[in-house]
Symmetry: C2
Subunit: 561 residues, 2 copies
């Protein structure tokens, strides 16, 4: 032990320390909340732990943090604080890096789906005033075309993904690659893993726009920190977690999981495309412990020829539709625990979770699935859920009375970017209005019955399209189904069902209508059943009911699939 | 499914809902952080789960929340917002209830050790301006005497603990029992599990006062929320957790564990007295998964005649002194994982944790124990640790250069209550100054070398009493040890050791000095070794080195034990 040096000397800190924060950023006892510090801490404490896996590429937390710092320095030279940086890419490492590097540079990250059309991209890039746009090689050419017409002329950076066979930019002279851009941040001091204001925006997530032009949900550093910590608790992320990236990061920032898994210093296993083989490769060779995904991902997993019971418990969190009993049983037989959550772009991803009650384990499979199909209760960080009538009175918690699901608390976005009217409308009465209709049970669990706009009003009676879909889905020959209301001179609206049958299965419309009559009041039974090859869906997997309705309101002959 | 009622009706919420918050308490997207909501959520989601166990008494979360609400209503009738309510009790249910009920009533909880002297109680009760004092039956008479002389004349409520053989108040006519008091809160609406200001105080924790009169560390709702969530992550608390209350709740609010275990909706197993048999009874019959405690509790566990390997992993978090290799090995052989943390009253309990690195598992036991003996790195919620010289420059992270351990971030208290001078002194330069001397290693882990006041300066050289104690502790015949500096005309100070030997062991002072010479520079070897029956300790287990020093500065003949 030597004496402390008493002379003035420059501050020294160990590698990866979070100590670069200027003294005026926070007082001794209040530090603004931000998920950026999670990476600073993970890199300082677990520098040699595997942080990011992508094909043959493996990065430690030291390397993860170093690339983020380098990227952040390069970004900071291009933007002013609070400006938007867009990343259009699948779940590749560059998208993960951007979740830390863009806010570290003082920017706001706007992650976008590479499957958006040129028209959608043009709208969002202009609305978000993007200054830098990182584009995956598959979409770089389209993006270059789009930005050519934008007033702010953002810089386009092409992400050359050699795993995907990209070979470098095919664009005009001077086109920048991610590696070129990264090199611009090589020199310079590390940026602090801190922010001055926890209410400052961290990301901008555009809605899928099923009801109009996409709206930009603004997330804050504080909200992202709390949502990430909520995810850590409810998923049980630890340093031993190996998380498979099936859920898109362009969708609600992958439910804040880039920050959550990093907070726990777990390992991110990236996946460019969600394919059955790639998932089972990761299960078999990467020791995956957790993943999230839509029902289609659940189906891909248990329907795979390679499906076999895993030697460890794997936790699969799913949303978008309740897992049916057969899926729950199929997953559990593989040692996969399905967890059902509910949320929206406006609430950092999941807000409620169907918390399993120990007593449910004793119930028959169908009864257990019925309880698990509910959207549940608020996650520990999220806040409060209520079901309200149009006058903002809570409906009785009787499991029957329909109302709108409303949310409030730290799990709710700050606002819609540049859209105070939409913000005021969505936040009326101090609650975020989801537009989803549901009921609350006496045990406080909510269950969605329908989107407000998807309720079918027939002869003054409400028909829940979800209820009718659930009945049809339970038929063994039905693989996928959507029920929509079509105009009817006598009743106002009448339900029509679009059905995809199981491969090779034969079933008639009359058989399915008879099946419905066993469970549903007569007025709820669809007037018609149309068989289609597949249902039209948004990029995030939501059924485009407006497309189906439009078809019916037109010549009546569906042309889907 | 029925239609929502369109007429005005009073809000209805399911049992235990957090919905009682007035609309103006928070906006739709920002809710002040408070750990109170953890109980609201646990009671709403897991009403029938076992929440509190104490002897034959078992309460569900529904009952836990109901008693807290009732107690809060009774407290609220007695205090104005922000006033202090004191509880002087061991780890019995009333102390746990108070951690929620007092802040729910708008008060500030001051938990106190029943072993405090009348003089200490009088000082703290007057300084804290306590309005209501709950006193365990064992100390109620003393407390009544003390409060008789206080200017504010607080109400005394006696906690009659029938498990401890209490039979009701033996005080003057009109003495109130906890049950009497609770009955006053029977009627009334539930109070909201919410606060208007997350920076408002929630508790007031008095230091043990080894350096002067006790100081009151003020914790905030925000800090307590974050510390609790940090504890949940690092301890891995879940709904299946069964936490044994060996760590006193009057010590830093039991490291915020009342809130942490409740956040996870785990089970609190209360324990009036920390006895070997009671601990093993709980291990054997209550399925304990976690506990915290001082090294003496570690020793009680592995030295018990009933010690046997557990059928589950149990996590034991310890602080105050690093667990020596023999203790680590003994605990691990019982399937108990020791975790070493470091903190102070001023930082919500633990601030750093010696995060185990997977590679350590391969090391020889002594080397692993050496690494685990370090105080480690900040917990995920806490903030930043640094080791600084007197000019507030960071010392080199070389594992050798001594400096003061300083802390900042959300894990640091708000201030010392009614003591702006002490607050300013402790927070100089924007960091909380611990008064502990330590080093930082290249891997960012800190290690304490001594309390600032416990460093022995001999002939201009620093001698770390902790270093010398560590060497003596490693001797197989030494059970407990303290090294202090005594005045010396020639050298300024010289080290003297006080040693408790293992039961039945025989060892001479010369043998121990020869043992020291094998590991320490000659000037560090204690001039004298005094054998004592036991070391004088504070109520929280800290060795009273000032008592030992005073003995030595007096007639030189120790009279301890």
């Amino acid at each position: 032990m030597t004496q402390p040096a008493m002379t003035q000397q420059p501050p020294q800190a160990p590698r990866g320390s979070r100590s670069a924060a200027p003294a005026d950023v926070h007082s001794a006892s209040t530090e603004p909340l931000t998920p950026l510090g999670f990476l600073g801490r993970a890199a300082a404490v677990f520098p040699d732990r595997e942080a990011v896996v992508y094909g043959a590429r493996r990065s430690t937390y030291r390397e993860f943090a170093a690339e983020v710092q380098q990227l952040a320095r390069a970004v900071r030279a291009r933007i002013r604080p609070g400006e938007t940086v867009t990343v259009i890419a699948p779940n590749i490492p560059a998208m993960l890096m951007a979740h830390f590097a863009v806010p570290l540079a003082g920017g706001v990250l706007s992650p976008l789906n590479p499957r958006l059309t040129a028209r959608e991209l043009a709208y969002i890039l202009e609305h978000s005033e993007a200054r830098v746009v990182f584009a995956d090689g598959d979409v770089a050419a389209t993006v270059r075309d789009v930005v050519g017409n934008l007033p702010q002329a953002p810089l386009v950076v092409e992400i050359v993904d050699t795993e995907a066979g990209h070979a470098g930019p095919a664009g005009p002279a001077g086109s920048l690659t991610y590696d070129d851009f990264l090199a611009q941040g090589l020199a310079g001091p590390d940026l602090p893993w801190w922010v001055a204001d926890e209410q400052a925006p961290i990301t901008l997530n555009y809605t899928s726009g099923t009801t109009g032009p996409p709206k930009g949900a603004l997330y804050t550093h504080r909200g992202a920190y709390l949502a990430a910590e909520g995810a850590v608790f409810h998923n049980g992320y630890t340093g031993a977690t190996r998380y498979l990236w099936t859920l898109p990061m362009f969708h609600c920032n992958g439910w804040c999981t880039p920050w959550a898994v990093t907070s726990a210093a777990g390992t991110h296993v990236c996946l460019r495309a969600v394919r059955q083989d790639a998932i089972w490769d990761a299960f078999d060779h990467e020791g995956i412990t957790h993943l999230c995904g839509a029902p289609i991902v659940c189906a891909m997993i248990h329907e795979s020829e390679r499906a076999r019971p895993l030697d460890r418990e794997l936790r699969m969190t799913t949303a978008g539709a309740a897992p049916p009993p057969s899926v729950i049983e199929a997953l559990e037989s593989l040692n996969i625990t399905p967890v059902h959550v509910y949320g929206l772009t406006e609430v950092y991803g999941p807000f409620t979770i169907c918390e399993p009650q120990p007593a449910w384990a004793q119930l028959p499979a169908a009864e257990r699935a019925r309880l698990m199909a509910r959207q549940g209760v608020p996650m520990v960080h999220a806040g409060e859920v209520a079901v309200m009538d149009p006058d903002l009175n809570r409906v009785p918690a009787d499991g029957e009375t329909l109302g709108e699901v409303v949310l409030r608390g730290n799990g709710v976005m700050k606002e819609y970017f540049k859209n105070p009217e939409a913000t005021a409308e969505a936040f009326r009465g101090g609650w975020y209005h989801t537009g989803d209709l549901g009921v609350m049970y006496p045990d406080g669990y909510i269950q969605l019955m329908d989107r407000a706009k998807d309720i079918i009003i027939s002869g003054g009676e409400n028909i829940s399209s979800i209820e009718v879909e659930g009945v049809l889905h339970a038929h063994p020959k039905v693989s996928d189904v959507a029920v929509v209301g079509v105009q009817d001179d006598r009743w106002g609206e009448r339900p029509v069902a679009f059905v995809v049958t199981e491969a090779g299965a034969q079933v008639s419309a009359d058989e399915l209508r008879a099946h419905c009559r066993q469970s549903l009041a007569g007025f709820k039974v669809p007037d018609r059943v149309e068989f289609v090859q597949e249902l039209p869906r948004t990029a995030t997997g939501k059924i485009r009911k407006n497309t189906l309705r439009a078809l019916q309101d037109g010549d009546g002959s569906p042309a889907v699939g």
